[in-house]
Subunit: 244 residues, 2 copies
């Protein structure tokens, strides 16, 4: 459904409605997808016999669907793939907010909580296509350059997909200008940004020291912010699909 | 209890024993604490009426106890504070492993899953001391430089502590040298490291552009890796406590 401005949005229920600081929350697809497409590692929450588990795992998004995968032996994928309720959270720590009182110390962050039920993608060709789509989403065009996945390799993977039923995005991004300093106290106050970037590439021995030069790896140039690289790669992959 | 080498360690049950790639798992305090002390944001998993929730939140460690806090209105803290089972996961994405087959693409990571039950710290003075300990853990010596927390501010916070019952650490850290390249395929393969660092400080307006210069903020110098800064700050705080 659409939100008040006519844009596609998720419909929050009690499960996903943000109670604390609702002014920082959004439910529209644009806000939710922006966070999801800038990330690579999600924290998947699930329940076994009343006990919660939170497993960090790589994920990707297509439309309103999230995908993640793992080994056939994975307990998480077995439970999650049976349709148990799942919460997938993606978050970024963007800065330390340093105040002059204990209570004003805080963090800059972006986060999304997405709720749904997952199912295992059983069909071998659908699974193969989705795994290629994951590589393509990260490194646009790369699947064509890889030795194709064998049936045996494919059988060792369990892939799940989850339709997002509800999701909320929450962000705080202070550049320091909104920080009120307690008068009469001298401690430095402001924001210490946290930046996650690509480092110097480490070639495998077969590369004989060669650095990555192909278009599929271009977004991940040394020094590139990871979130921007992932978002750029996602757009490049989508553009490639449109051209194909 | 101790592990086979005589070092303090957690005792895994079915809940925390790592099934996938057990050679990457450790249960000793040193390995678990190293990951926990390098982090600031945890993902807390809990269950309400069978539905899992995963909330990102700042945390800190003292001995085998984890602490986190939030607003008195927080649903997470209400549920968690009643002693419901909790899974606290801390993870770092350290690199993208880029192969010549789909299945060899992977990630470098460090992660800890910690299990326990939390309780609310009700006593006002214990709560005040713990909140100061959190600031001190991040910025050693800083609590003495801050306008003290008022009773009213303290009442707006809910603080929980969780004794870690079980925990496991899991890491993968490839520098590319262990990557076997599929022969006959030319695609670049290796590791693209991911680095999380402190950016250029953003002073609050009251600071008139002044950069942080005090010892409590020294670990967070521009360009410092966040994980190393947090670990260094933690050691500085522990050393200050010993001296006091």
């Amino acid at each position: 459904m659409d939100d008040a401005t006519g844009h596609p949005a998720f419909s929050p229920t009690e499960r996903s409605r943000v109670r604390r600081r609702p002014q920082r929350a959004r439910y529209d697809e644009a806000a939710v997808f922006e966070v999801l497409d800038a990330g690579l590692m999600a924290h998947v929450g699930y329940v076994i016999d009343g006990q919660p588990f939170v497993t960090p795992t790589a994920y990707w998004r297509e439309g309103r669907r999230l995908y993640w995968h793992g080994a056939a032996a994975s307990r998480m994928l077995r439970v999650v793939g049976e349709g148990a309720p799942v919460c997938v959270t993606v978050s970024f720590l963007d800065g330390l907010i340093v105040g002059r009182t204990g209570i004003t110390h805080s963090l800059n962050y972006r986060s999304v909580m997405a709720f749904g039920r997952a199912r295992i993608v059983e069909d071998a060709e659908a699974k193969r296509a989705a795994m290629d789509a994951f590589i393509d989403r990260l490194y646009a065009g790369r699947p064509l350059k890889l030795r194709p996945t064998t049936d045996e390799e494919l059988a060792r993977i369990v892939l799940v997909e989850m339709e997002i039923e509800e999701a909320s995005a929450k962000t705080r991004r202070s550049d320091g200008s909104d920080l009120v300093a307690e008068e009469g106290w001298a401690a430095w106050c402001g924001v210490l940004p946290v930046e996650t970037r690509i480092g110097a590439p480490l070639p495998a021995p077969a590369m004989a020291g060669e650095r990555p030069a192909s278009a599929d790896l271009a977004p991940y140039a040394e020094g590139a912010p990871l979130d921007a690289a992932l978002a750029e790669a996602s757009r490049a992959a989508a553009s490639g699909r449109l051209e194909a």
